[in-house]
Amino acid sequence: MAPPGTAFVTNVGELERYAAQLPQVAGALRRPVATLTEHTATARPMEVGAVSAMERAYGALTEDIAGRQRVMCDRIDATAEALGEIAALYRRVDGQG
């Protein structure tokens, strides 16, 4: 049994704040993904094999960076959700949920 006067209320608010802010972090970090994956092709009068190969390598690198960025954002969202659920649970324990 919890001792009197030891409710969660103040500090659960802090957890709720993290849970609310972290999806904003994920959202901000998702914004550069489009830049990393969209490359404007320009018309060129002559194809050079070495240029095409190098551009493919560059596209693969930026795609890798974007892919890891997406994974990071998904994990941040999942972390925020888990924190939010803990906060909701503890509010219920306080009788406020």
Binding site: M1, A2, P3, T6, F8, N11, E14, L15, Y18, Q21, L22, Q24, V25, A28, L29, R31, P32, T35, L36, H39, T40, T42, R44, P45, M46, E47, V48, G49, A50, V51, A53, M54, A57, Y58, A60, L61, T62, D64, I65, R68, Q69, V71, M72, R75, I76, A78, T79, A82, L83, E85, I86, A88, L89, Y90, R92, V93, G97
Partner: protein
């Protein structure tokens, strides 16, 4: 005004060289088709050959590369150490470490730590991509200038021979082969690129060319000399592009090796829905883990049950029903 030899400049140089070389060969009584009777088609094909030489260096667009470089740097800034995401994660990390304890709280703290480190890694490698673009730019701009110089200086020699006077010793600026190595060295850390315009990268590359005489003082040797120089220049261009390709491949491997630093899925003990979640996994600093354990487990079970019921209060909230 562009800081590089444009497509228009290159095309004009190729037309100028074709014209001067035709004049020179004509004075020698040699047409562009030395086997049959020269006609307009032969002249057109001859001119087109030089245009193609120039077009090889139009295979990349310095203006577009500059835009790409700036866009990628902007993307990197979103992940910068001073950006909002970094600050929010830092605050969460400090708060969790100070006030919440237990195995799950430690996992949340570690997760925030990993996110923070990973934001830095993403920042660094986004700038590596910007560095690759800066190298493409440096190579393309340097080879455009070299091709332009070869064509215009060769045309001067052709004009002199066509005017029947001995050409002055003439030189053109040939790109040195390790231009890519120099472009890599000029960026001591990709982080430096945040404050560097793409032309600063190019400007920092010391001595990218060496002077090479235009070969020949007579029509035949001048044509042969041009063909040899043109082929060598293009081979150097391809070699430089291959070096950048290899450099990008090596950075990509390094980056893949850092996957261990990605935030991982949280364990079941951090998930309220899981029976593995217990209060002592995530308890408040001023509580004893045992204080709230029974209440937390009872409420957790109710919470999970309500979520599971399609018409439960939480399920309704999740479904947007008020």
């Amino acid at each position: 005004m562009a800081n590089f030899v444009t497509d228009t400049d290159l095309r004009a140089a190729s037309f100028g060289l074709a014209h001067s070389m035709l004049e020179m060969l004509d004075r020698d009584g040699v047409g562009p088709d030395v086997i049959g009777l020269p006609d307009q088609m032969d002249v057109d094909v001859f001119r087109r050959t030089f245009e193609v030489d120039a077009e090889l260096y139009m295979s990349m667009d310095p203006t577009r590369l500059t835009e790409e470089y700036d866009e990628i740097r902007t993307a990197a800034t979103a992940n910068g150490a001073s950006s909002d995401p970094h600050g929010i994660v830092q605050a969460a990390m400090i708060g969790l470490e100070a006030k919440w304890h237990g195995a799950a709280a430690d996992k949340f703290y570690e997760q925030m730590q990993k996110v923070q480190q990973r934001i830095s890694t993403q920042h660094d490698y986004t700038l590596v991509a910007a560095q690759a673009v800066s190298m493409m730019y440096a190579v393309n701009v340097a080879f455009r200038a070299s091709c332009y110089d070869l064509m215009t200086q060769t045309a001067i020699v052709c004009d002199a021979i066509a005017d029947k006077h001995a050409p002055q010793p003439t030189q053109w600026a040939k790109v040195v082969v390790d231009l890519v190595g120099k472009a890599i060295d000029v960026v001591s850390s990709p982080k430096d690129l945040i404050g560097m315009a793409i032309d600063q990268v190019l400007g920092g590359v010391s001595k990218t060319t060496e002077q090479e005489p235009v070969a020949g003082s007579d029509a035949g040797p001048v044509v042969d000399g041009y063909v040899t120089a043109r082929d060598q220049l293009f081979a150097s261009y391809e070699q430089s592009l291959n070096q950048i390709d290899d450099w990008i491949g090596a950075r990509r491997k390094e980056f893949a090796g850092l996957d261990v630093t990605l935030p991982e899925p949280l364990p079941a003990g951090a998930d309220v829905d899981s029976p593995d979640f217990r209060y002592d996994n995530f308890y408040f600093d001023q509580h004893s883990p045992g204080d709230f354990a029974p209440e937390v487990e009872r409420e957790r079970q109710r919470y999970v049950d309500e979520k599971a019921k399609p018409d439960g209060l939480i399920a309704q909230r999740l479904a947007g029903v008020r």
